[in-house]
Amino acid sequence: MPAELRLMIPTNESVEPDDRQLVRTIRSGDSEAFEQLVRRKTTKVYSLCYRIIGNAEDAKDISQLVFIKLWENIEKYDPTYAFDTWLYRMVTNVAIDFMRNKQSRENAVNSTLRLVKTSADAEQGVVVQRKEIENVFNAVSSVLSPKQKMIFVMSEMDDLRSSEIARILGCRESTVRNHLFNARKLMQQQLKRRFPEYSRLWEERQ
């Protein structure tokens, strides 16, 4: 009876606790459960931070700060909401604070480090390369407000819907769409000024 035999075989598979269960264990004082949660969410948190901040070391520091805040505020988590929504909210708060401080420090520097392509480059065909897009994004997104950048990244790179972003930021969906619209417009203007060879893509569509 192969079916019965299969039932007798002990399995090594263990069901991983979901986020809410982990939070319950952490609240009872289990730091190992917290370690498990950190391991599970590191890439998610770091990726978002990296895309928002645009610098690996800063993104790492911000991510660490997010997890420490998470540990300190774990009692405040309401399990009726998705854990990731709460986690993203924490990331946005910490990252926005960081960006506001950084923006005020670096505004003057950024204005002098403008990349300007020659018109001859613009005439040539567009060769789109991923690494180049990342650099272009870091350059043109510097004109966005922290909130606009946050919404743009969550929508375009993390593929979150407007309703999810609104829940994370605690605002209306229409506000999210407005920010997104303005962010696109500002970035197109920046592309036109600094990377005319890419801005033609948008102009051709219009």
Partner: protein
């Protein structure tokens, strides 16, 4: 991952499989961006990135900080008097002080302090003229009119020959 053909047929969609293809297939990237320029920045998303040094090192760093904060918190708790205890201690002090005051009042009622009588001595002002008689050829003598019976009589003498310390 879906084929390049199906990707190109639904390139403007934002379905997860379309976005996955957009982010992985270099051959379709340029086509996608020319079809929908919003794919330009969309193409760098999706992938979950690892922090420098890897996930394990990152987790170890976070846990070290958490343990440090835990230790700091327990030390602080040991030296910090909780507000509830502080309030109870204050209430005890107030009760003892109040009781002592009441007891003292009963045992030793406060003596009635008689109002101090301040005798005011009024002395008539006696004035004595410094110069009783004065005769001079060059002096100008001004006598101020007195305003009452007891008023002092003021007489001013202006004379260059008078000594300064008179």
């Amino acid at each position: 991952m879906i084929s390049c053909q199906s990707f190109r047929a639904n390139v403007t969609s934002r379905e997860p499989e379309i976005l996955e293809h957009l982010r992985k297939c270099d051959a379709c990237l340029e086509f996608a961006v020319s079809a929908d320029p919003d794919h330009f920045f969309r193409s760098i998303g999706g992938e979950e990135l690892e922090p420098p040094g890897g996930v394990e090192a990152f987790t170890a760093d976070v846990m070290a900080q958490v343990r440090l904060r835990q230790a700091e918190g327990s030390v602080a708790r040991r030296f910090l008097i909780p507000p509830r205890r502080l309030a109870a201690a204050a209430a005890v002090v107030v009760a003892i002080a109040g009781g002592t005051l009441v007891w003292q009042r009963r045992e030793h009622p406060a003596a009635v302090i008689a109002p101090a009588i301040v005798a005011r001595v009024t002395r008539p002002v006696v004035t004595k003229p410094v110069v009783e008689t004065y005769q001079s050829q060059n002096a100008t003598i001004v006598e101020l009119p007195s305003q009452g019976k007891n008023d002092a009589n003021v007489v001013m003498i202006f004379d260059d020959s008078l000594p300064a310390d008179l």
